[in-house]
């Protein structure tokens, strides 16, 4: 009796160190950077069929971002439309982290009610859920908004599916003439609509920080002039029509100024135009070289621009008030057409290499340059407002197309409809 009790005691003492020990901790440091698996269940439809397949738009948005891996439709084991219909255990087997369900029902012929719910499959928890009532014409835009919400909920970052792209399309008429159009599309390139058409070339569209205005260069008057156009009203003003070249407009972060390239003094130089007063101030003074394609740093005090003052085009930085410029790019013989991420961490530019031109990104802190594209005919890079993707123009089958690449170079996507010839893209800011 006592012996067994003693044995039990000694066993207890033996085991005590185990008990006293800190909990076993397993370190996880790796992890994959794979796209997040998500199940997007086609939304239920009640009443009149909706003119847009909202869940399909969302599915494409999420897939196009590269951050999500929607399950193939064939893998979906059931089609629940609200929580009561979900058996989470089943969805867990598919290893899908998120589950999106929803339904669209027609209120009347023109109005639809849309509701969605996003669930955490493993915790059987709703992460976000909303209900909307929109006209049929607003369904697509609503789908992008829902994509933004899902993106933000699952990644913690701002979604850019509701932003727009501005670009220039060129159409060859049967009469052998070229028609230029300034177009604005959804962020996925879909739903393009022309905001300006011209027989003369249109170049360098630039979004105002509030996304309400576009500035661009139009040759409609026989020479390069800079215009500012309001998106809602369509009203447009020529803001720079000086003698010589008027080009490469770029909005200051506060939306009050434009940086421009003017050659009114004989040589292309960088100027800053105060829109309200029309006051113009010259930034660069280098009559031997071309200074152009200025963009504002997020701090609104400095400009990056392209200059061949060193013999070959390189990116330089200069104070918006003028003064001495400093060289920013040192890698490669050709660096031009810079754009800056909204967070100020990265600069993207066209990087020439062996006679080919690629989109590259440079870490402004370390100076490290990474070439992101492979096509070799890439131009006009423009950062997405979430600083995560870069929109650029490239060529495919002799025609200009739009493409996007993630800032880490991992995710590539083709934007817009095939068949059109597009160039000079600019990613809009997030709609306020």
């Amino acid at each position: 009796m006592i012996k067994s009790w003693l044995m039990a005691l000694s066993l207890l003492i033996t085991l005590l160190p185990w008990q006293a020990h800190a909990l076993l901790t397993i370190e996880i440091t790796g992890g994959s950077e794979a796209a997040l698996p998500i199940a997007v269940v086609p939304f239920g439809n009640e009443g009149f069929a909706a003119p847009e397949d909202i869940s399909e738009v969302i599915r494409n948005d999420l897939a196009s971002s590269g951050r999500f891996a929607p399950l193939p439709k064939g893998d979906l084991i059931s089609s629940p439309h609200d929580k009561s219909e979900i058996n989470f255990k089943d969805w867990r087997l598919l290893r899908s982290e998120g589950l999106l369900v929803g339904k669209v029902s027609s209120v009347d012929g023109e109005t639809y009610q849309v509701q969605f719910q996003l669930f955490d499959v493993y915790k059987s928890q709703q992460l976000i859920g909303k209900r909307y009532q929109v006209p049929a014409s607003g369904l697509r835009r609503l789908a992008h908004q829902i994509s933004d919400l899902i993106y933000q909920t699952l990644t913690g970052e701002v979604g850019v599916f509701s932003t727009r792209l501005a670009f220039v399309s060129v159409v060859n008429t049967p009469a052998g003439q070229k028609r230029y159009a300034l177009q604005v599309s959804d962020a996925d390139g879909a739903n393009p609509r022309s905001v300006l058409q011209s027989k003369q070339p249109i170049l360098s569209p630039s979004w105002s920080p509030d996304g309400e205005r576009l500035s661009y260069v139009s040759f409609e008057n026989g020479k390069a002039e800079v215009f500012v156009q309001e998106m809602r009203s369509g009203r447009r003003d020529s803001v720079a029509a000086f003698k010589g070249l008027n080009s490469a407009p770029s909005w200051s972060p506060d939306g009050k100024k434009l940086a421009l390239t003017l050659s009114k003094a004989g040589n292309p130089e960088i100027y800053v135009l105060e829109l309200a007063s029309g006051k113009l101030s010259r930034v660069t003074h280098n009559s031997q070289a071309i200074d152009t394609e200025a963009v504002w740093m997020p701090n609104g005090r400095e400009l990056l621009f392209t200059s061949d003052r060193g013999g070959r085009p390189q990116i330089y930085k200069v104070s918006a008030d003028g003064g001495r410029a400093s060289r920013v790019t040192f890698e490669g013989r050709y660096n031009a057409s810079a754009d800056i991420s909204a967070d100020g961490r990265f600069m993207t530019m066209v990087h020439g290499l062996n006679g080919k031109y690629y989109i590259a990104v440079q870490d402004l802190d370390s100076g490290a340059v990474q070439v992101l594209t492979e096509t070799g005919q890439d131009e006009s890079p423009s950062f997405a407002p979430n600083s995560r993707n870069i929109l650029y123009a490239t060529e495919q089958n002799g025609k200009g197309i739009l493409a996007a690449v993630s800032v880490d170079g991992r995710i590539h996507q083709r934007l817009g409809e095939s068949g059109s010839d597009v160039r000079e893209p600019a990613w809009s800011p997030i709609r306020k």
């Binding site: 160190p17 909990l23 867990r92 290893r95 982290e97 493993y122 913690g156």
Partner: protein, 347 residues
Amino acid sequence: MNKSLIENIIAGSYALILHIGLISLFVMGMESKSEPIAVLPQVDIVKATAISEDSVLAEMVRQQEHEQKQLRAEQDRQEKVEQKLLETQQELARKEREYLEQQEQAKIQQQQRELVAKQEQDKIQQLEQQRKVEEERKQQAEVDRKVAEQRKQKAEQERLVEEERKQQVAQERRVAEEKKRLAEADRQAEERRKSEAEQAAKLAEEQKRKAEAERLAAEKRQVEEERKAQIAEADRLLQESLANEQREQEVRRVGGVVQQYMSIISQRVTRYWIKPANATKGLQAILRVSLLPGGDVKQVTIVKSSSNAIFDRSAESAVYKAAPFSLPTDPKAMAKFRDFQFSFKPE
């Protein structure tokens, strides 16, 4: 002394002797009266010293008695001599008286006057002579007395010396005896003391021996106990080390199994963890996970949030997606995975 006195007396003229005798009788009668007085103290002295309990002293008394006897014998003799002398004197006086009576009778008349004158003168002369004689006698007596005295003194002195010597001897003997006695006593005392000391020493020795023996015994006992304790301790240590070794082996074994499964689980979770793109370095989420016996997740709690909800959720999802975990069959090793933690910390 007495002899010279007698000779002196014989040598004197009859007349003179008569006168002297008369005077002597007178004087001696006076003197004889004082004689015993002079002797008595001697006896007293002897008697005074005769007090002794000792046999020696008895002997002394005997001697003294003997001396006294002798003295008495001497006195008797002297008295006889004196008696004889007196008798002789009386005879002489009688003859003289006869002669004188014859002569005197004849002459008495004739000489009566002359005698009277002459007697007067003679008487003066005689007186003078008598005085002189008396003086001389006195002197002689004095001398004699002195001599006697001296003799007596000498004898006394000698006696005293002897006495003293004897006393001294006795004293010495006594002293010696006392000394001896004392020495004996001392010896005895010493012996006793010695004996006692010996006894005490013996006792002390015995006690010491005993104490030593006890000490040795105690020491031995202690040594024995220590030895036993050491053996017990060594045994215990051996047992303990064996137990420890077993335990350590067990711990190592279990630890090895645990490590192996930690690695398996880590790989599995890593494979399923889709790190958020904005999972910047420095983010860390600690998740506490309790598993069901089959390896399914019972519960996941975020113990330490990365303060990035997306990051936290990605970690949670990774754990859920990785489940069920394969767990060791060893119960001890398995126990470690009943409740444990994941630390998600991108590098």
